[in-house]
Structures are given as structure tokens and as C-alpha cells.
């Protein structure tokens, strides 16, 4: 704690022990995460193309960043990421909140809820992407068959050849995998709300909507915020799901920024430019986290020890 300078030798001994215990983990994190991150920044200021070693590795300042902002594929990928994040996170929060509110009163089936929630969450993202690809695949996949049986489609849709329809399985797969988890976080938040508050509200004659608006929502705000932060940051770095589901296609019309960066680095071997894209991904997610914490999370961090 700043300002609480340990004075006694016992405190000083304890502090020394604490740093000694933390050292291995902290130095691991510095070595494998922070040092590489600094290296990415440095690399992004260079022209470094592994396919053209004769160019060596000249320092070019911010030229890679300028190139990125003039690069239509980069701007497209940024747009796809924003679209994906906004759509999937909105759906997940709305459905998750609805699920949590509905299940909060249920006393039976807690174990079943946990199982239904944890299994989609625990399976590899690549696997869930392939499950959804399979369901939407071909003219006679289960989705086309079901929609035609229900009379919603006259003829089968080839989902993966048009940008608009290719987004449908991508968003659904993400919603399927993570909404239960959002519901779980919100459910835990709901269960922390003191039920006497609802009784008091009821005695005051508050309608169900007013109870929700003035009791549930304010008290659930920290849990909603946590879910929002985790989900948005996850959505912004989406990679596995789209790599396995559409490969960014058709063309590059579902390619998110992490996939474009990956292709720049490991397909095209443009390490300088790819590093600049990596830095942009990092700065965007970092900025988002700061914005959330600044505008919504003051009380959240204040109450956490």
C-alpha cells in the first residue's frame, strides 16, 4: 500500500518474504509477456520482411502505422471486428440477463444449469466452430433442412458463399458458446442481492419493472460490467472461431483483425507490418478496458480489496 511504509522489522521481513514468493511468477510473466510486448512495439517501427532478408531491418519510424491506416484490408478487418463484437456481446448480455433472471428463482436443477453452462464453455473454440460449420454446411445440412421443414425457407441457403449469411453461423456459434457463461456470472451477482430489498420495494408498492429498474439493475451493475469487459475484450481478439468456421471468407469478408494480423505475420512473413497491426490490436483492447473502468467501474474497483 502506498503511504503505509512498513516500519517494524516484522513488517519488513514479511514484505521481503512476499516479494521472494512472488518473484518466480512475476519474473516469468515479465519474461514471456511484458518483454515480448515491448519487443512488438520496437519491431513495429522497422521494415522487416522475412521473405526479403536482403532488405535487412531498417528503422522506418511510424511508416507501418501509416500504411495500416491506408490499407483497405486492415480497415475492413477492423470493421468486421467491431461488428462482430457489438452484435455478439449485445446478444450475449441480453439473453444472458434474461436467462439469469429466469433461473434465479429456480431451486431445482442447479446442477443441470451448471452442466448446461459449463460444457459449451469448456469445449475448445475450434471444436464449437466446426460443430456450427457442420450444421450450416451444404444444401442439406440440419439448419437448411429444419428451416425448410418449418416453411421459413423455400430453397436451401448456401451460407458460406455470401458475406451476409456467413456471419450468421459465426455469431450464433459465439452466442451458443459464451451466453451460458454470461448468465452464470449474472446469476451469481443476482444471488448476492439481499432479498429484503425486494420485500421493502414490494411493500412500497413498486411494480416488477420498477423493482428491476431500481433494485436489480443498480446492484447487478458490477457483475454486468465484469461480463461486459470480459466478453468485449474476448470478442475483439476473436481468432479461433473464425479461423475454423469461415477462415475469414468468403474472400476476406469475415476476417477479423487478429486473423489479418496472423496472416500478415505467418503467411506473408511481414514481421514489421504485422507487429504494427499487433500493437494496434493491443492498444484498442487496452483502451476499451480503460474506458469501461473509467465510466462504469469506479465503484467496482473501489469495493474490491
Amino acid at each position: 500500500m502506498p503511504g503505509a511504509e512498513p516500519t517494524g522489522s516484522v513488517e519488513r521481513k514479511e514484505a521481503r518474504l512476499a516479494w521472494g514468493l512472488a518473484l518466480p511468477a512475476v519474473s516469468t510473466i515479465l519474461l514471456v509477456a511484458l518483454f515480448p510486448l515491448a519487443w512488438t512495439f520496437w519491431e513495429s517501427l522497422h521494415l522487416h520482411d522475412l521473405r526479403m532478408p536482403w532488405l535487412e531491418r531498417p528503422f522506418i519510424g511510424l511508416a507501418n502505422y501509416l500504411e495500416a491506416f491506408g490499407d483497405p484490408r486492415f480497415r475492413g478487418s477492423l470493421l468486421h471486428t467491431v461488428f462482430f463484437a457489438a452484435t455478439s456481446v449485445t446478444l450475449e448480455l441480453v439473453i444472458g440477463l434474461w436467462l439469469a433472471l429466469s433461473l434465479n428463482r429456480a431451486f431445482r436443477g442447479r446442477g443441470l444449469v451448471r452442466a448446461a453452462v459449463l460444457v459449451p464453455w469448456a469445449i475448445p473454440t475450434v471444436v464449437s466452430a466446426l460443430l456450427w460449420r457442420f450444421m450450416f454446411e451444404g444444401q442439406t445440412g440440419i439448419v437448411n433442412a429444419a428451416l425448410m421443414d418449418a416453411g421459413l425457407l423455400r430453397e436451401p441457403v448456401v451460407w458460406f458463399i455470401q458475406p451476409n449469411t456467413a456471419w450468421v453461423p459465426v455469431i450464433l456459434a459465439d452466442v451458443w458458446k459464451t451466453t451460458p457463461f454470461v448468465a452464470l456470472l449474472l446469476l451469481a451477482g443476482l444471488q448476492n442481492i439481499d432479498s429484503s430489498l425486494y420485500e421493502a420495494a414490494r411493500i412500497d408498492g413498486a411494480s416488477a419493472w420498477r423493482q428491476f429498474r431500481h433494485v436489480t439493475l443498480p446492484l447487478l451493475k458490477p457483475a454486468i460490467l465484469v461480463a461486459l469487459i470480459f466478453r468485449t475484450l474476448d470478442a475483439f481478439r476473436v481468432f479461433d472461431l473464425i479461423y475454423a468456421l469461415t477462415g475469414g471468407g468468403p474472400g476476406t469478408s469475415t476476417e477479423p483483425i487478429a486473423l489479418y494480423t496472423f496472416n500478415t505475420l505467418l503467411q506473408n512473413l511481414q514481421f514489421g507490418y504485422g507487429s504494427a497491426l499487433s500493437v494496434i490490436v493491443f492498444l484498442v483492447t487496452f483502451g476499451l478496458a480503460l474506458v469501461y473502468i473509467r465510466f462504469l467501474g469506479a465503484e467496482l474497483l473501489g469495493t474490491r480489496r
Binding site: M1, P2, P6, E14, A15, L17, A18, W19, L21, A25, I29, V32, A33, L34, F35, P36, L37, W39, T40, E43, S102, L103, A106, G111, A115, A116, V117, L118, V119, A122, I123, V126, V127, L130, F134, E137, T140, I142, A145, W176, L184, L185, N192, P222, A223, L233, R237, F239, D240, Y243, F262, L265, L266, G274, S275, S278, V281, F282, T285, A289
Partner: protein, 272 residues
């Protein structure tokens, strides 16, 4: 009042069906002959075959990615829990300057995007000749696994009453002995839960495994499955059989420890 009675059950039913259906469908398809996969889907199983599973292990040597995943995820977990537990104990139970800063730093590292360290890690591993090796995967995995382990363990250690080790220390034990002899045995459930979650995250990891391996001999399960797709033909039966196998270990682990895992996952998030 009567509406409340059935409404949660309906929602619960919907949730269970929606969660389970894609898995059920994949399981069913993994036992269906390839020729029938896209011919009029039927919800009920009929003439099931084992050909996809057989092909997986005879033609594709699927046990190699399974072995790779077990080694990589297992080593990552063992290292992180051992080293992370010490750090988490210090953060949960000891008083020192910069503690909340350190905790915030670890959380922040856990949240930053993996893609932002792919290029330096690739060059680092290449210069150490670690591309396409087990250490070349475990090392990058520490970037997300170490913060996760520390964060979860801090939560578990904080739940244990402080009087326990104080009593031991009054009896003359040192901090470290109190930690080793009092806290660790009591924290075994928390350590196990943390280990399971770290294992699941490492088992499922994709971007690093895709970036830092070159061929089938070191690919992990998710990478192997994602690259099954051939040039002209997609072997759906085998892909889904592999999907079932990849899902099985994490699903069983998570279901066996579900109560504790939910506790661990939600404690950090909603305990004010």
C-alpha cells in the same frame, strides 16, 4: 405466484436443449457413415458405424496430437500451479507495498490479446531453436496460464480463515512452514480446481499452437482438427469424431468438478 412455478423450468429446459443439441448432433454424426451425413438428416440414430474413429487412429495417427496436448497442457499446468501458488499466497495473505499494483498488473497481463506477442515469441523461439518443440509451446502458454493461475489461487487462498496460520505461527512455526503445513493441505480443493481450469485453457489453446508448430508431429488436438480439411473434400465424419474426442476430457473434468469450478470462476468476478 403460480407462473413462477413453471417458468424457470421452461427456461431451464430450453437452455439444456440449446446447449446440448450441437453436441448431440456431432456425436450422432460421428457414428454415421460418411455417405449418409448430408442425405436427409434424421434426429434419431440408425445404423451406426465406427469407421470414422477407426480412420482417425489408423490413417491419421490421432494419438499423436492427443499425446502432444497432454504433454503441453500438463507441463504448463504443473509449472503454473507450483510457481503461481507461492505468488498467490503472498498476494492473498501478506502485507507489502505495491501489492494491489502487482495484482492489477497480473490481471492486466491475463487480459491482453495473444496476437500482440506472436511476432516476438516467434522470433525468440526461432533463435532458441524451439519452434516445433514442447518447450516452444509451454513457454508461450505461460503468458496466459500464469496470470490465470495466480488470479484464481488468490481467490481461493483468501477464502481460508486467517486464524489458522496465525495459530500455527503462535506455536512457533515460520510463515513458510505455516503455508506449507496448514494452508496447502486446506487449499487442495482450490489448487485442484485451479489446475483443472489451467489445463482446460491450455488444452483448448489454438493461436500459439498454430503459430509455433510446423507439422503433425508436434501439433496439438485443436490444431490437428482445424487442419483436417482437405483441398477438395472435407472429411466431416472424421472431423466430428475428433471433435468428440477433443471434447471428452475437458467435459468430464469440468462436470466432475462443476460446483467448485463455478465458485472459482464467479468468485473473482462478483465478490465485491
Amino acid at each position: 405466484m403460480s407462473r413462477r412455478g413453471w417458468w424457470p423450468s421452461v427456461v431451464l429446459g430450453l437452455l439444456v436443449v440449446a446447449s446440448a443439441f450441437p453436441l448431440y448432433w456431432a456425436l450422432l454424426a460421428s457414428f454415421t457413415p460418411e455417405a449418409r451425413l448430408f442425405q436427409g438428416p434424421s434426429l434419431l440414430p440408425s445404423d451406426l458405424v465406427l469407421e470414422h474413429y477407426r480412420a482417425l487412429f489408423t490413417q491419421r495417427n490421432f494419438w499423436i496430437p492427443i499425446r502432444n496436448s497432454l504433454i503441453v497442457a500438463g507441463s504448463t499446468t504443473a509449472f503454473c500451479v507450483a510457481v503461481g501458488a507461492l505468488c498467490a499466497y503472498a498476494l492473498a495473505r501478506l502485507e507489502f507495498r505495491g501489492k494491489s499494483l502487482l495484482l492489477g498488473f497480473i490481471l492486466a497481463v491475463g487480459m491482453f490479446p495473444q496476437i500482440s506477442v506472436v511476432s516476438p515469441l516467434y522470433m525468440l523461439l526461432r533463435s532458441l531453436h524451439l519452434i516445433n518443440t514442447y518447450p516452444g509451446l509451454v513457454l508461450p502458454y505461460l503468458t496466459f496460464a500464469m496470470p490465470l493461475t495466480v488470479w484464481l489461487l488468490v481467490g481461493f487462498f483468501r477464502q481460508l480463515p486467517a486464524e489458522l496460520e496465525e495459530a500455527a505461527m503462535v506455536d512457533g512455526a515460520s510463515r513458510l512452514r505455516a503455508f506449507w503445513e496448514v494452508i496447502v493441505p486446506l487449499a487442495v480443493p482450490g489448487l485442484a480446481t485451479t489446475a483443472i481450469l489451467t489445463f482446460v485453457y491450455s488444452w483448448n489453446e489454438f493461436l500459439f499452437a498454430l503459430s509455433f508448430t510446423l507439422g503433425p508431429d508436434r501439433q496439438t488436438v485443436p490444431v490437428a482438427i482445424a487442419l483436417f480439411r482437405g483441398m477438395y473434400q472435407v472429411p466431416w465424419g472424421q472431423i466430428l469424431a475428433a471433435a468428440v474426442i477433443a471434447t471428452l476430457p475437458v467435459t468430464l473434468l469440468v462436470l466432475a468438478f462443476q460446483r467448485r469450478i463455478v465458485q472459482g470462476l464467479t468468485a473473482g468476478a462478483v465478490k465485491g
